[in-house]
């Protein structure tokens, strides 16, 4: 969102920035820094694939919602 505001400034760009920032955040927070926290989600029946797909889907939903504003 911040990059969307800084670099372009319109709402659609903020939506696009979610597409990049959400996976990046997941990568750095869960894959690099706190890898063990994945076990919390594994115990809820959520695999790595499901978690990555849901992050990307949420990014797309944000983009669609913000594009509609």
């Amino acid at each position: 969102m911040v990059t969307g505001l800084i670099f372009v400034g319109d709402i659609k760009s903020i939506g696009f920035s979610f597409l990049f920032i959400a996976p990046l955040m997941q990568y750095f927070i869960y894959e690099v820094k706190n890898k063990h926290e994945y076990y919390f989600y594994y115990n809820l029946g959520l695999s790595n694939t499901i978690l990555w797909v849901s992050t990307i889907v949420i990014g797309f939903l944000n983009l669609i919602l913000l594009s509609l504003i």
Binding site: N34, N43, S47
Partner: protein, 229 residues
């Protein structure tokens, strides 16, 4: 009564067989202790059973259901890893609500060890407090089988005894497979002891066999016998 069947598990690293055609069963209400030297493959075996570690071959079944991955084992198998796994920045009460079904929450919320921690965030807890929260969460989950990988890591003796007694008290509703470096904890808790060596699993029928298998020295064994008598 439902049973966890594990069969034909084979795993290699760099052409070296770590696990070779492993067969193991665990019934509901039973505690299976898994012991072996460092690097023998205990944690790898638990991860394969849980569904997060790939292997050449495996067959895991609970009742009639074959477990191939995490999603198919949902509500059937839970796994406590060696390292702390609860997300930071979330209060313990919220974690309980996220992790446990409604009907299982109240016992944990009213637990004497958990009550004072409810409004603290996970990162504010000590190592021992984190561990007890994690173990009790897993034990109170709806899963029928629980895999505990070194549950007593960083836990003080009094908490260790509490956890051992707690698992014994709760064992009728679930099956447990437990590993620990401190063999005494496992021997204390388990109904059946399995020894993992050179990729194969053997059932240990008596403590003396641990000396013959090269897991305990004669001195360790004598101390163990003295303590238990």
């Amino acid at each position: 009564m439902s049973t966890l069947h594990i069969d034909s598990i084979t795993k290699s690293y760099d052409n070296k067989k770590i696990l070779s055609d492993i067969y193991l069963t665990c019934k509901k209400g039973e505690i299976v202790g898994l012991i072996g030297r460092n690097g023998s493959g205990k944690s790898t075996l638990l991860k394969i059973i849980f569904g997060i570690e790939k292997c050449e071959n495996k067959f895991v079944q609970i009742g009639d259901k074959v477990i191939n991955n995490i999603a198919s084992g949902r509500t059937l198998i839970n796994y406590l890893p060696q390292d702390f796994f609860l997300p930071n920045n979330i209060k313990i009460k919220a974690l309980i609500n996220l992790f446990l079904p409604k009907e299982n929450r109240s016992e944990l919320i009213n637990n004497d060890y958990i009550k004072p921690l409810l409004h603290k965030k996970n990162q504010e807890l000590s190592g021992g407090e984190k561990r007890i929260v994690e173990i009790l969460l897993i034990v109170h989950s709806n899963a029928e089988f629980i895999l505990l990988d070194e549950p007593f890591n960083g836990v003080s003796p009094i908490i260790k005894t509490y956890i051992i007694n707690y698992i014994k008290k709760m064992k009728s509703s679930k099956g447990y497979i437990i590993t620990d470096h401190d063999y005494e904890n496992v021997l204390n808790l388990a109904d059946k002891i399995m020894f993992l060596k050179d990729g194969t699993l053997k059932e240990v029928m008596n403590k003396k066999q641990l000396v013959d298998l090269g897991y305990l020295s004669q001195t360790n064994y004598n101390m163990l016998i003295e303590e238990s008598s």
